[in-house]
Amino acid sequence: MSLSLFRQDEPMTEAEPTDVASLAGSYGRLVFRAAYRVLGNAGQAEDVQQEVFLRLLEKPVGNIASWPGYLTTLATRLSIDRLRRHQRWQRLIHVWRASVPAAFDSTEHDAIQAERARQLRLALCRLKPKEAECFTLRHLHGMEIAAIAQATKLTVNHVSVCLHRAARALEARLNESENTTSPEVL
């Protein structure tokens, strides 16, 4: 199963914008949503969104075959970095809980979904960064393997291996957390 971040109203092909402002105008929302899905918090996603474009200002990059792919990958990488740092601080749970929409508390289904999201984020930040990045790009952002390989500068085979290892490790983590009596707090 894969989910796609890309919307109909956003360009999927590149017009090679020449400045960061143009890129931000074209892909700012895409980057925000990519970060939001990983982080689950609008404020954190805003930080990542701004960091992505500030980095481009500081260190312009060229020869980008796919700006949506590149920017989504960068946003994902920065978001996972944040998850990992927050996991170390073991404090993000408060942010997430605070950021869950009120409607999520209204039904058991939504509560289960929120708990699943929490568990998967926790498991993601325990993966090797590259594996977590590939998994997120493929299964959360819906990118094709070839596009992931292009954006991450890995080979297609390497991406496939990362995806396989990530899925296996996540399964193990989720089973582990399911068998744990007391829920682990981030």
Binding site: G28, F32, Q50, W89, R116, L140, L163, L174
Partner: protein, 254 residues
């Protein structure tokens, strides 16, 4: 190699399919575009002096460490940008240790990398990369010391930005304070942070400009820092010329 997810893992992945509201997305986009429109699309000025200005660096790092990514209207990246793109930055650091007032440290710096640190009324240190030297003044004895700034200080500019990476790596949780304070005529929002046993309160204005920082390390040390960004600053404060009435001594003189 294909990767088929189990139904369980698929269910967890779908749980992350939370799309932000259009309002939140649009708000973020507006902030981003407003921020970028203010930015100068020029290379960031390298500051080769940071390794030589411990007090200034400490001030900046402490200041920046408390700017945590809570995004309560101000994104962390915005504050980082202020700290990198300032024309002038002035920090007045008041310290108190075990109930005793310590000398006030006044640090001034500019975008050229010049740094002046006045530690109470006793000592002044001026780091001037353009003149390739450091001036130290001992005011009580009216002694002055000039030290050449090693070439390596400007030969490895990337290393001197390592502190920025350190800031980027730092994360935590700050609690927004309910009340506002007016500092330098600007309404500011406060954040409280408890990190490594230190209680830190930061006040920043609506543009993300830091205005004041208060640090309380219990009975050991407390600091209060007043921050000014881009205030006019006379270049003469960064001169390494020995002032009239001061005796120049060699760096290794006793």
């Amino acid at each position: 190699m294909t990767t088929e997810l189990s139904s369980k893992l698929s269910a967890h992945v779908s749980a992350l399919d939370v799309t932000p509201s259009d309002a939140a997305t649009d708000a973020a986009q507006r902030k981003l575009e407003a921020r970028l429109s203010k930015m100068r699309s020029v290379a960031i000025v390298r500051r080769p002096w940071f390794g030589w200005a411990a007090a200034a660096a400490t001030g900046c790092i402490v200041l920046a460490l408390v700017m945590l990514p809570t995004s309560q209207g101000i994104a962390f990246a915005t504050v980082q940008k202020h700290l990198r793109d300032f024309t002038t930055l002035s920090l007045t650091i008041e310290q108190r240790s075990q109930g005793i007032d310590m000398p006030t440290i006044h640090v001034r710096m500019n975008h050229d990398g010049d740094v002046r640190s006045d530690m109470g009324s006793a000592t002044t240190t001026v780091v001037n990369p353009g003149e390739h030297r450091i001036l130290t003044l001992l005011h009580d004895s009216h002694m002055a010391m000039l030290t050449p700034l090693p070439v390596i200080a400007s030969a490895k500019p990337a290393d001197n930005l390592a502190w920025l990476d350190a800031i980027r790596q730092f994360q935590g949780e700050a609690i927004r304070l309910p009340n506002q304070r007016t500092i330098d005529g600007r309404p500011t929002t406060g954040w409280a942070l408890d990190t490594n046993g230190m209680n830190i309160t930061l006040w920043a204005d609506s543009d993300g400009l830091p205005r004041a920082v208060e640090i309380n390390g219990g009975t050991l040390l407390s600091q209060r820092m007043h921050v000014s960004v881009d205030d006019p600053m006379d270049v003469s404060v960064f001169s390494t010329r020995v002032p009239v009435g001061y005796h120049l001594m060699a760096p290794d003189a006793k």
